[in-house]
Amino acid sequence: MNDPHLLTLHVNGEEHEVVVEPRRTLADVLRHDLRLTGTHVGCEHGVCGACTVLLDDAPTRACLVFAVQAEGADVRTVESLGGEHGALSDLQQAFSDHHGLQCGFCTPGFLMLAEGVLAEQPDASREDIREALSANLCRCTGYQTIVDAVCATAQARREATA
């Protein structure tokens, strides 16, 4: 291995020590070293967003980040959403309710993107949400039901904090 690095990653509230080559992406480390395979890879060049994770709360393309760059950051993946025993979070439930997923390959990326968007813009309008979600690709749904799911969650969260 070329110049291996030992690093500590904070992922979903747990610390992991991994030995990686400097060129190894965060997506590969999450998926193949930590076996958190919920984060998907659809292009490896930063366009599709299937690999979106939260890096210190900001939606980030894990395929464009080297694992070594994520040291010290708080990484959250789809596996962190939801509760005990596979209980779905409000956002995950909304995706199911609105049929916001078909094959489900893009879904983890959209969920993490949406979590970032909802945290950043809790008052986002449907058009704001649509615009923000245009960062990621879905080939199955035509997007409408994904927008529906995120809007419904935004609304419910607003009502809960009102």
């Binding site: 998907h40 890879v41 292009c43 939801g82 927008v147």
Partner: protein
């Protein structure tokens, strides 16, 4: 409208119906199957069974598979489109740290992938697709050698170390180029670059109709760009050798596991028994994964040699340049109309650029044959002539992409309708109304019998939606204000659930059609049901469970679907051509019914009553009809069937298992729809914005409304992509333009509008559930509807656009009066 509103028309009710005994005669009519059975579950949008795992990151996609000792594979691919390989040296590859093996075609010595049609030599030329290119490469991205290494990064290093020298030949980069005098030859077997040339119909009266066209003759030349079906998950496979089972396990992203098994066994020269194909969760397919990929076979061969698991995951660049493409077609269509606006003849020449190789099992004939057979679409065309050709070129090969040729021939015929409307001074919807099939069953000039549908009703409703919402007024107001709004329609039907009889007419030597299901009830009364179909996003785990739950009167939570395993399912044709719910769903329903009969037989014996005196009670048990207090639950019965089998009736075998097969008879069943679109062309940028998209569809009995709507919307999004955005072009040397998502423009949430969907329901009489296919329709209707709307928006420019995708520059040229 429902089927009951369409009393069986006498066979001669339609004046356009061809004579019996000709191409249009199909012998005995289909045995009616749908008994109107509806229960608690079918028709309800229940939570999808697939969702919890997919939402929590616990799905298992092919790249999620990790096996002990697993190696990784990648391909050295051709960097030129057409060349003789003069040198292929892998010695440096084998020296790269981490590389375990490198193979070329000679090393692996595999059989070729060959797909043939049962047609004479003047109609079809078989060609072989080698697993790894031998002495010639035919497209940029063609696999030339396989590199296996300890990790994917080392694979890349290994690929870079390969030395390949080429003697570059002139490339064929277009269908016109392929057919030109003295064109370079892609396959020696086909010196004219034509792989299929079939004149499927030349019915009497075509020339006469053109000679005395009382209304008009329209001619239109339509073209569509080469598209990538583009499942978000690329292709991939993990192959491993299991010494104990004496079997190669190939876990792969395929829509057709049994067909992959057949081809792996053939190419490796081993008995099919020694190959097992399983399919993990799949991130879409849309047809791209319904053909056998050479990479799947190469990886299997490597695992067999190395006795180690080998994984190959296609990267996006490979998927865009070397994955199966589709849709590059060119139609020259002439149509004659009488003075009343009725079409009197159709004469079409179709050329499809199938790329470098013929796909298995469908062959390079798939696109032109589909188009030739179905071209008259939803209209009563009395005379029809068609020639369809598949040509080969130095481009990535093609697979049947969602809709297969229907998006293209529908564009051709819908452009004909629009042009006729203009020539005759009629409203475009009115021209369609005068021509659309309204009496069913209808046997067309193409010999196809169309089962009942709502062609006219969907058209009327779609138009009413736009009128009621005021879009016609809006269009006038916009025009007055100097803006360019246009309204467009597309009315079409789609043959779904092709059975073996329908496929046999295409003269395939491998004839898909039937499907199988086995259902097994355990001692708790829960069931596992199998299907030879292959879910890749369509929600089979949910919809098939609904079908079973209704037939057996149990909760859907007690039904688990298994598919995608050649060991568990005796045979299947996978998922394509909107066949899953029509054929697979019918097999599942019949197997469930048989299980119900078995449960009743055992229960009658245990209740000591006559078999006619018991019935399923719709709530997980069997009840005695003359004494409803006497009831046995399924677990009571299962307890006897497994654990106390000495109590079974003498003629009943232990265990609760039933199997069924199903094949759609005759010509299959037609779903239909009308799409209505309002667009605005931006005078500043030439961009097309979709302001309103309405879909009125009829896919028979809807099992799960939300899922059907999801299929429609997703399909429409792909159709819009083809109409406005996506295209793989090739330069003169055959270099593809799109190697990343920067160049291949996949629409996002801001390009795809919200879409309304209205359902009409004409139950299919000969599928077990009354359902027709719903997987492809959206993709079929969108390109023509959008193209027509754009032309309407440009109606004052005198320009007619007939090519997709529609580029903003073309729109701008039209608006600014540039020729």
């Amino acid at each position: 409208m429902t089927a009951t509103d369409v009393p069986g028309l006498p066979a001669d009710a339609d004046p356009d119906r061809p004579e019996p005994g000709g191409e249009g005669d199909h012998g005995t009519p289909a045995e009616p199957r749908f008994d109107g059975h509806r229960g608690r579950w079918v028709g309800a949008s229940i939570p999808r069974h697939e969702d919890p795992r997919l939402l929590t990151g616990r799905g298992r996609f092919v790249d999620d598979i990790a096996l002990t000792g697993m190696l990784h594979a990648g391909f050295v691919r051709a960097t030129v489109a057409h060349a003789r390989v003069t040198e292929l040296d892998l010695s440096a590859v084998r020296e790269v740290p981490g590389v375990v093996a490198a193979y070329d075609a000679a090393d692996l010595a595999l059989g070729d992938i060959v797909a043939i049609l049962d047609r004479p030599a003047e109609e079809f030329t078989p060609t072989a697709m080698p697993v790894l290119a031998r002495d010639k490469v035919r497209f940029v991205g063609e696999p030339v050698a396989l590199v296996v290494a300890r990790d994917p990064y080392a694979v890349e290093d290994g690929i870079e170390a390969a030395r390949v020298s080429y003697d570059v030949l002139e490339a064929v980069n277009s269908s016109d180029g392929a057919l030109a005098e003295g064109a370079p030859v892609v396959h020696d077997e086909a010196p004219d670059n034509v792989l299929l040339d079939v004149s499927m119909f030349d019915t009497p009266g075509v020339d006469e109709a053109f000679a005395d066209a009382g209304g008009c003759v329209v001619e239109v030349e339509t073209r569509s760009g080469r598209q990538n079906a583009l499942p978000l998950e690329t292709r991939g496979a993990v192959a491993s050798w299991d010494a104990r089972d004496d079997q190669l396990l190939v876990q792969t992203t395929t829509q057709v596991p049994h067909q992959v098994r057949t081809m792996v066994a053939r190419c490796l020269g081993v008995p099919e028994r020694t190959v097992r194909v399983t399919v993990p969760d799949m991130g879409g397919g849309f047809g791209q994964k319904c053909v056998v990929g050479r990479e799947e076979i190469a990886v299997a061969a490597a695992a067999q040699r190395l006795h180690r698991p080998v994984k190959w995951i296609e990267d996006r660049r490979e998927a865009l340049t070397a994955g199966f493409l589709a849709r590059e077609q060119h139609y020259r269509t002439r149509a004659a109309f009488d003075g009343d606006g009725h079409i009197t003849a159709l004469d079409v020449d179709i050329v499809c650029d199938m790329g470098a190789y013929s796909c298995y099992p469908f062959t390079a004939g798939i696109e032109p044959l589909m188009a030739s057979a179905e071209m008259p679409s939803v209209y009563r065309v009395p005379a029809y002539r068609v020639r369809g050709r598949a040509i080969t070129s130095n481009k990535a090969p093609t697979a049947p992409y969602r809709g297969v040729s229907r998006p293209q021939y529908v564009v051709a015929i819908e452009r004909v309708m629009e042009r006729a409307a203009r020539a005759l001074g009629l409203d475009p919807v009115e021209v369609r109304r005068r021509n659309v099939i309204t009496q069913f069953p209808y046997t067309g000039v193409n010999g196809v019998t169309y089962d009942p549908g709502t062609y006219r009703e969907s058209l009327d409703l779609a138009e009413a939606i736009l009128r009621d919402e005021g879009w016609y007024d809006e269009r006038d107001r916009a025009a007055a204000a100097g803006r360019h709004l246009g309204i467009g329609y597309c009315c079409f039907s789609e043959r779904t659930g092709y059975g073996s009889e329908a496929f046999a007419k295409r003269k395939m030597t491998v004839v898909p059609g039937f499907d199988l299901s086995e259902i097994r009830m355990d001692t708790t009364g829960a069931v596992v049901v199998t299907s030879g179909t292959m879910n890749h996003g369509q929600s089979h785990e949910t919809t098939f469970a609904q079908i079973v739950a209704d037939r057996l009167g149990i909760d859907t939570a007690r039904v688990k679907l298994r598919q995608g395993d050649t060991e568990r399912i005796a045979y299947g044709w996978g998922t394509f051509a909107s066949r899953s719910v029509t054929i697979g769903g019918s097999a599942v329903a019949l197997a469930s019914e048989r299980l119900g009969e078995l449960l009743c037989r055992i229960a009658a014996h245990l209740l000591e009553t006559r078999p006619e005196n018991v019935a399923l009670d719709g709530d997980g048990g069997v009840v005695q009809l003359d004494d409803p207090d006497r009831r046995l639950s399924y677990s009571d019965i299962a307890d006897v069937a497994y654990l106390r089998s000495h109590l079974l009736p003498k003629d009943v075998e232990p265990t609760l298992t039933a199997t069924a097969s199903f094949d759609v008879p005759g010509d299959g069943t037609f779903s239909n729809a009308t799409h209505a679109v309002v667009v605005e062309a931006d005078a500043g940028t030439g961009q097309i914005r979709i302001l309103r998209y309405a879909c009125v569809e009829d896919c028979g009995v809807v099992i799960h409304p939300q899922v059907v709507e999801g299929q429609c919307r997703g399909g429409i999004a792909q159709g819009i992509a083809g109409a406005l955005f996506e295209e793989v072009t090739y330069d003169a040397q055959g270099e593809p333009s799109a190697a990343s998502f920067i160049d291949y423009l996949v629409p996002t949430a801001t390009e795809i509008p919200d879409i309304s969907i209205a359902h009409l329901e004409t139950p299919c009489a000969f599928t077990a559930n009354g359902a027709k296919g719903a997987g492809e329709g959206g993709t079929i209707g969108a390109p023509a509807a959008v193209l027509n709307a754009v032309n309407d928006a440009l109606r004052d420019t005198g320009v007619e656009l007939d090519t997709t995708p529609i580029h903003p520059a073309t729109v701008l040229d039209a608006l600014e009066g540039r020729p």
